[in-house]
Amino acid sequence: MYLAAIINLNHPAHYYSVGPFSISAGNAVIILVMIAIFTLALFLPFPHGKADK
């Protein structure tokens, strides 16, 4: 029994292939999110409170 979700992922995935490399859209999104949050963590300003001075 499959429960319907808001966004239905129950269909064949899209794959991106270059040479021997092939990645599903889902995995590609996960990896891109990881790179994005790492980059954001490097550049986003970090809040400082009064006690920091």
């Binding site: 808001i6 992922l9 859209a25 889902g26 996960i30």
Partner: protein, 308 residues
Amino acid sequence: MKVDPSVKWSGPTRPYDLIKELAAAVLVIGLLAGGLSFLFSSPDEPAVTLKSWAQTNPVDFAQTATGELAGTTTSTSYGPPYNNAAKGMHFGILKLQDWSGVRIPIDPAKSFVLDPLASYNDIAGQDAVIAWNAATADQQSTWATGYADALGKATTATEVADPSNLYGPVPTLITSLLNMAKGGALDGALLTSDSTLPTNFTKPLLFLADSEGYFAAKAEEQHLGGEQWGVMNETGSWPGQSWLWLFSFWYQVDPFKSSDNADTIVMLMMGLLTLLLALVPVLPVIRKIPYKIPIHRLIWKDWYSKKL
């Protein structure tokens, strides 16, 4: 200010609420997981059975079952831990598969075909088992190999007529087994052969794993095959196991892709790479990369710019 990093920090500090931070993190990640679950749910491709196999692709079932008798399937020539029919994989003098021994003994012909039929309420099948067991190994091989060829040539047939009795009891064995599977009795028979209340699915899964036209084909439809980066993938469009990218990678390229010992080589290599990851702090060149490429200037940019 220059300090010895192994000594406790005695410089400026800032207030820090460890428990509040952990509580906030659990709340945020909990909400994130809940949100993702609500939006995307999770995959649940229904399990297959010997019954679904026999009903969906009876030709593949018949060919695979004949292969078990003929000794041409993967399980019949696997080697340890199931049998000594072949040598296991090795890497040079490291024969880890052979050294582990036959600890899960499986004789596919007996386990998947003959024993279930001997207990099934089909007189023709039971008689065929008796006839098979009474024959010599050479005779059994001639019958089974001949029938496997005939089925292969017939391509879409689940049985082939045998007016000249070239195949002995094999056609009856296979047809009876197919009917037993279609009715659902074979699943139960294989599962309960070692234990009355089973949790060990070795026999039905090994039999299924010998199927190319059904089990492997179903997996390949979902890009789960070894040469499709399958180890990383999930059924449907859900993200899979992206952390297994490097393990999957080796199977896509030579020399591993076409090696008979691919699994041993890849497992040992990943073990070595894991060890190297653990040793990064002492590896020449690698351990100096953070100093050569100073990403740390971004990490500690606030501290470096307002240093006291």
